[in-house]
Symmetry: C2
Subunit: 313 residues, 2 copies
């Protein structure tokens, strides 16, 4: 299977400077003087350095983030200002909420393969702490603020790196299971009052999401494995969205045993759109993933949107 | 020139039900009981009908909108719930602010050409009225609320329809010339106070944008024409972003004389991300554009981001 001949040439990551413990669970939040743009700058620098290139070599800057930094302009324009000011690199956001990174890898692997763009810088990350509700313990104690960055380029003839298979689906029965109702177009910021303040916080119905995932994911995973012709045993490592501590319950139900997938929920929590690339970056840095390894990126996101992407690293 | 063999198979549009006059300038805003999702549903239905297909034929639902309906989930998941609930069509946002539609056509023309997706439904539109500042007359009197929809499919062997050339650039010197600073990640909704309330409104520095456009656009247009090998005379009609009444000043400076481009600013104002597809849809409906015509879609957006896309309709 040849696939789309692209390579992740370098990755980087940065996390909020404030370390918090909830029991044994560790979370990181932005410090008062920190902004997500600071983390984006750090992660991008690392990714470019790891890829052995500089920002001037990049053809497009993609923010694959779940939440807006501002309602206008798009996140990529604001990150561009930080790391590419004075250059004319196009800036674009791709958003499928928590699985935005995988969607961006999927889409831009086709664009790189077809020479629309040659070198892509993808950034994922969110300021979860900006909207966490202290009264909703389940979500308040779950999220961290962080950014991960990734440089994707065309693979050379002699390299095996490729996107071998990708699939994405959305079941909007889950559109309101994870949401922030207020603050944007549908419920403007100026409509906030004492009796609807809760609508402007992040709101998660964990039990409903779990039920919908349990109903939809097994069939989706089977379909993807069948279509790709890859067996679970051939996959070196699964990098799933670090959704919650329920990862340990969901993954075995999908046929992935302990040790076959990354679970860093206790160490970092849910990093929203940065979850998958952050875990991928860490696994590469610690030598758990090496060139040529077959990796499965598996995303679940508010929507409910899911991604399944097989990557020859 | 063969280009990417895709076709806009159908379009649709819908506009806010409240008609307002500022002198001779006509604007449309959502009525109190109306939501952008109502307009999205209408526009999508028209586009699907014009293309002779139904929602079940669509492979991916793309919201190419400038502003979020909610901070979570992405706009496409919310539109999916309206028009595709119960189906598993993937939902994704593409955002380059006001030029999101052209970016989406650019990207998805490559994806359709390469069979990643076969039939794409793209929706563009924003609730500009949710954040307009009554104290900033220039912007308060400029914008309308509306949605345009477009079905893109692979062109048949005998059809000439294609994307012949595309280019996008971002100059982030303009990142803060058009913006909404507050309400999202960088300046959370809960930080709004009496002394920073203005930061949560849309803020436009028209004069600065014009100056930056005047500096960047002529060279960009020349480069695109040269690279594409197309002359201004070969272009049947230019559909530019309906940015403001300054369109009449900018377009001649780019070598496009009156009548060679669409100018519907007086009739509709600036429809944000819907501007280009709304004007394109109207031009098709009124017979100003016909199959086989060479069309230039030209976007300018907060960022500053610009798009140049040559389309054989």
């Amino acid at each position: 299977m040849k696939g789309r001949r692209v390579k992740i040439a370098g990755m980087g990551k940065a996390i909020g400077g404030q370390k918090i413990y909830f029991g044994e669970q560790i979370r990181y939040r932005l410090m008062p003087e920190q902004s997500l743009l600071d983390l984006a700058e750090q992660a991008a620098e690392q990714a470019l350095q790891a890829a052995g290139i500089t920002i001037t070599d990049i053809d497009i800057l993609v923010c694959a983030m779940a939440t807006p930094l501002q309602a206008i302009p798009c996140n990529a324009a604001l990150v561009h200002e930080r790391i590419a000011k004075g250059l004319d690199i196009p800036a674009m956001d791709i958003n499928t909420t928590c699985t935005s990174f995988i969607s961006a890898v999927d889409i831009f692997s086709v664009l790189v393969e077809n020479w629309r763009y040659k070198r892509v810088l993808i950034l994922s990350g969110d300021t979860a702490s900006a909207a966490l509700n202290p009264n909703q313990r389940e979500s308040y104690e779950l999220f961290s603020d962080g950014v991960a960055a990734c440089v994707m380029v065309a693979a050379k003839e002699e390299e095996s790196s490729a996107v071998l298979y990708s699939n994405q689906k959305t079941w909007s029965e889950g559109a309101h299971d994870t949401e922030i109702r207020g603050g944007c177009g549908l419920m403007p910021v100026f409509d906030m009052a004492n009796n609807n303040r809760e609508d402007y916080y992040f709101d998660m119905r964990g039990h409903r999401i779990l039920k919908l995932c349990a109903r939809k994911l097994p069939g989706f995973v089977e379909q993807c494995l069948q279509e790709s012709g890859i067996t679970r045993e051939e996959i070196h490592l699964v990098v799933p969205h670090q959704a919650s501590r329920a990862l340990k319950i969901i993954m075995p139900k999908l046929g992935f045993t302990e040790g076959s997938y990354v679970d860093r929920v206790a160490q970092y929590g849910n990093l929203v759109s940065a979850s998958v690339p952050f875990a991928l970056c860490e696994a590469v840095e610690t030598g758990r993933i090496n060139r040529g390894d077959l990796i499965l990126l598996m995303g679940t996101a508010a929507g409910l949107t899911v991604n399944f992407l097989l990557l020859r690293f």
